[in-house]
């Protein structure tokens, strides 16, 4: 191991408070003893990673309070360190972390709120895509409709929750009116999407959700329809497809004419 490599490993172990020994004596005593100077880097690192989480998860912050959030963030940073030089990539496992974070188990809906905020964050930064070419779709012979494979817009995410997630999110936006939410009022299925540059949510029926989810898994239209109709026999498939094409959430298609 080279001296530089050894120094870098020792520095990071000291910053994470895992083991100060390999780094002891590596820093000159300056205005303060070396160990206190390392502490400045520890503070900077945890402050910037925590700030990144606060920026992505403002509703979680509001629900648990800043002090609790900072504690959870500290534990999260240790458990799931940043693996990218781009801070916008940091925090993707926070929902899963919260689900197993003992002090947060009294708020069983919290991981779903985090999931929604991460979806929002990803949709915000996702690629754009041209609308689906209507004329090309209209040119597909009806006999081949079952073979269509629709694609969702890159800036969309699907989410389902047993909790009234959208109302929780809305009630915790800056300036929202105080509102009592019954956690047992029922779950929600959501499409997170971008209209122009703004992020929006659309509530989906069960069948509509299953249809779009089947699209997101590259299922053929006939299979996707079967899944949706099984859950919701009255579903207006053609109407729903039209609606999502016009919203832009269904943004592409191809034909899968392989053996049935």
């Amino acid at each position: 191991m080279t001296a530089l490599h050894e120094l870098q490993c020792g520095f990071v172990a000291a910053v994470f408070g895992e083991d100060d020994a390999p780094f002891a004596g590596k820093v000159r005593d300056g205005r303060f003893p070396g160990a206190r100077l390392v502490q400045i880097y520890r503070n900077n690192t945890f402050a910037s990673l925590t700030a990144a989480l606060i920026a992505v998860y403002p509703v979680v912050v509001r629900l648990v309070g800043e002090q609790f959030f900072r504690y959870a963030a500290d534990r999260y940073i240790h458990a799931h360190p940043s693996t990218s030089g781009n801070l916008h990539d940091f925090g993707g496992r926070f929902a899963a972390f919260l689900a197993t974070f003992a002090p947060a188990t009294t708020l069983p809906y919290l991981p779903d709120v985090a999931r929604l905020e991460w979806a929002y964050h990803r949709v915000f930064h996702a690629a754009g895509h041209a609308p689906l070419p209507h004329d090309q779709l209209a040119a597909v012979p009806p006999a081949q409709h079952g073979h269509l494979v629709f694609g969702l817009h890159p800036a969309t995410r699907l989410l389902e929750s047993d909790y009234p997630l959208l109302r929780i999110w809305q009630a915790n936006q800056p300036g929202a009116a105080h509102e009592q939410i019954d956690l047992n009022e029922g779950g929600v299925r959501l499409l997170v999407f971008r209209r122009d540059l703004d992020i929006e949510f659309k509530r989906l029926s069960n069948g509509e959700f299953l249809l779009l989810r089947a699209f997101s898994f590259d299922r053929r239209f006939d299979e996707a329809c079967a899944m949706a109709l099984e859950a919701e026999p009255q579903l207006d498939l053609a109407g729903i497809l039209r609606q999502h094409v016009s919203l832009g959430s269904v943004a592409s298609f191809r034909l899968d004419l392989s053996f049935v």
Binding site: H5, L37, A52, V123
Partner: protein
Amino acid sequence: MPAAMRFPRSPIPARAGIGLRAPHYRDVLEQRPAAGWLEVHSENYFGAGGAPLHYLEQIREHYPLSLHGVGLSLGSTDHLNLAHLERLRALIARVEPALVSEHLCWSSIGGRYLNDLVPLPYTDEALCHVSARIRQAQDFLGRQLLVENVSSYLEYQDTTIPEWEFLAAVAQATGCGILLDINNIYVSAINHGFDASEYLRAIPVTAVQEMHLAGFSVNRYEDGEILIDTHSARVAAPVWSLYREAVQRFGPVPTLIEWDTDIPPLAVLLEEMHSADEILREQRHDRVA
């Protein structure tokens, strides 16, 4: 076949510019302030689309642009992060910046990122290592990088070379340009007790292609204080003095006002920018006279 230019050909002029941050997108587009050029943090535009790129592309039509990276971890003994370099290369192709810069530091090891600018020990080994990596990055991107001196709060026992000599040697070894951060020199000079003017005198004049100015904060403890490079305030008076000295040595060089936390109204950045422009103008005048 040469790629078609989508944006005006716009080299960075030897004037002052400002760091562009999200709260100012609309103001910049509506007011079109007389900034010589703009700089953004590359990583803020690593997403594939959405509002950040939408605004950056609109603004790019009106201003020369510089991309300033904070996450490449040039000095790490990990392999260079190819995914990061690829995203940077794609962004360069998309917005056609006139300058691309990164920091002379490391920020990750073993795949774990501190997302902070950590100084290198200034040794022959580190010089050799970071120079090889800068060459790799320049080869990958097919262009010259500017490399910036960071501010620091500690010095390593291993260090054998003064930072200014190390920076000059990196530029010499790699052909990279130097982005000289005047505030960082000042912060480190106070924290470590070296002579900031000596630093300036050691840097080769022709290598400096850009300068940075920013405000620091002071962490006060019972037994002393330390300067922290927070980019959260106006440029301090002694940093302006050091900047005058730098402009005398290096000539009128594109100079950026950085402000990244507690971001004030755009007008405050523009005031700082005008102060820098004033110093650049004096120098141009002196040179002609």
